[in-house]
């Protein structure tokens, strides 16, 4: 069998181990040192694990669940499941017991592979609830020295039993491998559950190969390139990159020491390919911004000079404007003084393939990275149907999500798309939508004939690039009949270093747009300290008049880009941090709007009743699980208290442009 003929990832792995056993394919920082794994070692580990899992009852058509950070064992578990013809459900490490229990029951998982004590505790609680779970395997024994549950097994123990099986019957693993087919279910990828309970999207081996081929067709991957895995394999996009492209390109997959260490690790590695979600890129951008806020005036001036030249040359080229001769002459100096050292500091100095995927990101962030000389690209797609568009080539429009990708005919028919009368994007082609696990009704809802309904409102530019506007159901109409794009406002406001999260309000019952802001405690706190503004808690800080004025200024700046009827007129700051443990955010840190609207109903009422302050009481959960309530006075601020003053001409022009 050759790699081109392989139908499953486990087959590819076995073939890689045969062709280049000694080549490094994974690297993980353990005990302070980057430890390398060769193809042969990974293959050996996967084989031992697979046979060990088989002894625990995992069989063709079965389901294995993995929960933990991105570590080699997490990836090996997936390949081992594939080798047996079983599917993997990968979970975010911070998912709670209720969520895991639901997913275990819904998917029918029989074995949970968990990282450490924290995950094992949850898995044990889940196993008490879901009787189908027959074994829990852990790979990091810290804190587990005195656990004696009969369900528990260490990773090494399972691998040891697998090795014994292999010694007795050396052909067994290859027989299992050979039975693998492209139609095997590889992954049940659960949607993040912004609306209702999560649904498990069925991803086949063919789907993984198809999406990897789409990406390879659009970007220039070099075999052996260094890749940093950071986003969770629970998210389909990492399935394409770390899991699938890691084997197919092949890439060296680097695993950070701990998630908090990722920025340091990134700098040590200076990888060539990486994928972050908008939030991570934004946090990288705000690291730069916050550092520059702290820097002295001279350094800041040099930084700003360099970035301005980078902007003119790099962003200008990208957007098809010829940079001035002066800028081109200064560029080598800007590169040497500012841009290259900046990329070096961030660990992006060798980065050739840098991607942003997930939800929309403010073009400002994109431009900042491009000005630095990092060719950041956006990707767009849906778990159900795969990646659809990507910024390709040297020139692309940052306001779009790029050109359509091509399907390899081996994996399915070409991608086709159309826009329905409601403005919704419909897609078919490629390996197609295989439905939601065990939910035929939901599957039918998501389809229109053989078209998959993305639920996204889109348009297309003259150059054929797709523009993502908003989820169809999220475009919101005000009582006046005007509609406004809440995401547009939110992404752009989130780019402010002072704002961590926000929720825009306004619908058919409301006359205008209002906003609830979750300030960034760290940045605002430092800002307040610099100005000798005393504060005690988050609640106190968020309601300080100076802080409200600061946020008001940020909103007014964004308002200038919006048509008049879509501007934010009033806002209030949340008196506490939004918290996924309280269900206010999803695990991927998206807002749960309906829940928030219900929980903060009195505050929202106050915003629209033109009140100046509202006292609200919200339940809070402490880290140890204790419950309490927070009662706080929340002050409401008019954004436009200087309404009489007309905006400057320039801003008016920008507002015209935005329309």
């Amino acid at each position: 069998m050759t790699i081109a003929q392989a139908q499953t990832l486990a087959q590819v792995l076995s073939e890689r181990a045969r062709l280049s056993p000694g080549a490094v394919c994974e690297r993980h920082k353990r005990l302070g040192i980057w430890q390398e794994f060769t193809w042969e070692q990974v293959h050996d580990n996967v084989r031992a694990l697979a046979l060990g899992l088989q002894a625990l009852g995992v069989a063709r058509g079965g389901v294995v669940m993995a929960i933990g950070e991105n570590e080699p064992e997490h990836f090996w578990t997936e390949y081992a499941a594939h080798a047996l013809g079983a599917a993997l459900v990968s979970l975010y490490p911070d998912q709670n017991t209720d969520e895991i229990a639901y997913l275990a029951a819904d998917s029918g998982a029989t074995v949970i592979v968990a990282q450490d004590q924290e995950q094992v505790d949850k898995a044990l609680a889940v196993a008490r609830e879901v009787s189908a779970v027959k074994a829990i395997v852990y790979w990091d024994d810290a804190g587990l020295w005195s656990y004696h549950d009969p369900l528990l097994r260490s990773f090494e123990e399972v691998q040891r039993s697998g090795r014994e099986v292999h010694a007795d019957d050396p052909g067994r693993y290859n027989r299992e491998l050979a039975a693998g087919r492209a139609e095997d279910v590889a992954v049940l990828s659960y949607t993040s559950g912004t609306t209702g309970r999560p649904k498990g999207v069925v991803l086949t081996q063919r789907y993984l190969f198809d999406n990897a081929a789409r990406i390879v067709g659009a970007l220039d991957f070099k075999p052996g390139c260094e890749y940093l895995t950071y986003i969770a394999p629970a998210w389909a996009t990492e399935q394409f990159f770390g899991i699938t492209l890691g084997l197919l390109v092949p890439m060296v997959v680097n695993f950070p020491e701990r998630p908090e260490q990722v920025l340091t690790n990134l700098r040590e590695l200076a990888v060539e390919a990486m994928l972050f979600s908008p939030r991570q890129w934004e946090s990288l951008a705000s690291v730069v911004q916050a550092r520059m806020l702290d820097a002295g005036p001279v350094r800041r001036a040099i930084y700003e000079w360099g970035i301005a030249i980078g902007r003119e040359v790099n962003v200008g080229r990208l957007e098809g404007r010829a940079p001035s001769l002066a800028a081109r002459l200064k560029y080598p100096f800007a590169e040497a003084l500012v841009l290259e050292p900046l990329r070096d500091k961030l660990g992006l100095v060798r980065a050739k393939i840098t991607l942003c995927g997930g939800s929309a990101m403010a073009p400002d962030v994109f431009r900042l990275f491009h000005a630095m000389g990092v060719h950041l690209r956006n990707a767009y797609g849906a778990t159900e149907i795969g990646l659809l568009t990507l910024h390709q080539g040297e020139r692309y429009d940052l306001e779009t999500v790029g050109h359509w990708m091509q399907c390899d005919p081996r994996h399915g028919p070409p991608l086709e798309w159309r826009v329905s009368d409601e403005g919704e994007l419909l897609v078919k082609g490629g390996s197609g939508f295989m439905g939601y696990h065990g939910k035929p009704d939901k599957t039918a809802e998501a389809q229109d004939g053989d078209w998959y309904r993305t639920g996204d409102a889109v348009s297309q530019t003259g150059g054929g690039e797709l523009v993502f506007l908003e989820r169809v159901k999220d475009m919101r109409r005000l009582r006046s009949g005007h509609s406004f794009p809440p995401q547009f406002i939110e992404t752009r406001l989130r780019f402010s270093p002072f704002i961590k999260d926000l929720m825009t309000l306004g619908d058919e019952r409301r006359d205008y747009v209002a906003a609830l802001i979750n300030i960034d405690m760290e940045v605002v706190g430092r800002w307040a300290e610099e100005r000798n503004i005393g504060f005690s808690t988050f609640t106190d800080l968020s309601q300080r008049p100076e802080v409200r004025e600061l946020i008001r200024g940020e909103i007014a700046r964004i308002n200038a880009f919006l048509p008049e009827h879509a501007r934010v007129l009033r806002f209030a700051n949340f008196p506490k941090e939004l918290d996924p443990d309280e269900g206010e955010l999803t695990r991927s840190r998206k807002l749960r709007r309906e829940f928030l609207e219900e929980r903060y109903a009195p505050l929202i009422g106050g915003l629209y009743a033109r009140e100046d302050e509202v006292t609200i009481t919200v339940p809070v959960t402490y880290q140890d699980g204790r419950k309490g309530t927070l009662t706080s006075k929340v002050l409401i601020t008019e954004v436009n208290h200087a309404a009489a003053m007309p905006p400057p001409r320039q801003q008016l022009a920008a507002a015209e442009g935005a329309r």
Binding site: L31, G32, I33, A142, G143, W145, S146, R258, Q261, D624
Partner: protein, 254 residues
């Protein structure tokens, strides 16, 4: 065999009797807490156990062997490690370097050999560096391994202090008020690591502590000192109900 014991120990500073015929036995694999009001002699007892103070009478036995004639560093070499009230670390050095200091008693090369950097010296250095990394992993302080200790918050410094003590690979760990000056989150963190030390390494831990909540949660057994004497001994429940203890803490009922 009893890992560490003080028998009939009396310690005087001039006219002040700090310890008056105190007998304490540390059992294998237990977390023993020593509590008592201010000036009861807790820290003195810890100093006697670590060989820092020589009692006027009585003996201290380390695995059955009396340590009276040993210097403090010799006691340390035999496996007694301690952490201090506050932190006694090198503020200008990094976390890794501070923990490496704890490896000192396991180092065999002298300055001249280290200067020549023979291959076996390099190998030894690698081994020490590796055990430091294992401690860093154990205490989850990867993110600060190259930070200077002086720039760290108090809670983290205490964790580094514990790391330094663990680097000695102690057979018994003495901790002097590890929780003093910490906020509740830092206390919870450190408490977890203390329990982990005992669980992972089966090392008995002797804890002198003021924070009753911590003591009652962590300790297997408690010894209560008052005016240099042992007034009670037992499980947290027994000690909490003991009338002598209540009297020592709250004063005599009228």
């Amino acid at each position: 065999m009893t890992p560490l014991a003080a028998r009939e120990v009396t310690l005087r500073f001039g006219g002040v009797i700090a310890l008056d015929g105190v007998t304490v036995e540390v059992r294998p694999d237990e977390l023993l807490a020593i509590i008592g009001p201010n000036g009861a002699g807790k820290t003195s007892l810890l100093n006697v156990l670590s060989g820092f103070y020589r009692p006027q009478s009585g003996r201290v036995e380390l695995e059955g062997e009396t340590i009276r004639s040993l210097r403090v560093d010799q006691v340390a070499r035999r496996g007694v490690a301690r952490t201090f009230q506050g932190t006694h670390l090198f503020a200008g050095q990094t976390v890794v370097e501070n923990i490496l200091v704890g490896r000192d008693i396991h180092m065999h090369t002298n300055i001249l050999q280290a200067f020549c950097y023979f291959p076996w010296v390099a190998r030894e250095e690698d081994e020490h560096r590796r055990s430091v990394e294992e401690i860093i992993d154990f205490l989850e302080i990867e993110a600060i391994r190259n930070e200077r200790v002086g720039t760290l918050g108090y809670g983290l410094r205490k964790r580094v202090d514990l790391g330094r003590a663990l680097a000695q690979e102690p057979r018994i760990l003495l901790m002097d008020e590890p929780m003093a000056g910490m906020n509740s989150e830092e206390k919870e963190d450190l408490a977890r690591f203390i329990l982990d030390v005992r669980e992972a390494h089966k090392t008995p831990v002797v804890l002198v502590e003021h924070d009753m909540g911590v003591v009652m949660d962590l300790a297997d057994r408690i010894i209560v000192l008052d005016f240099g004497r042992v007034i009670a001994e037992g499980t947290p429940d027994e000690v909490q109900r003991n009338p002598d203890v209540i009297r020592a803490y709250l004063g005599e009922a009228q």
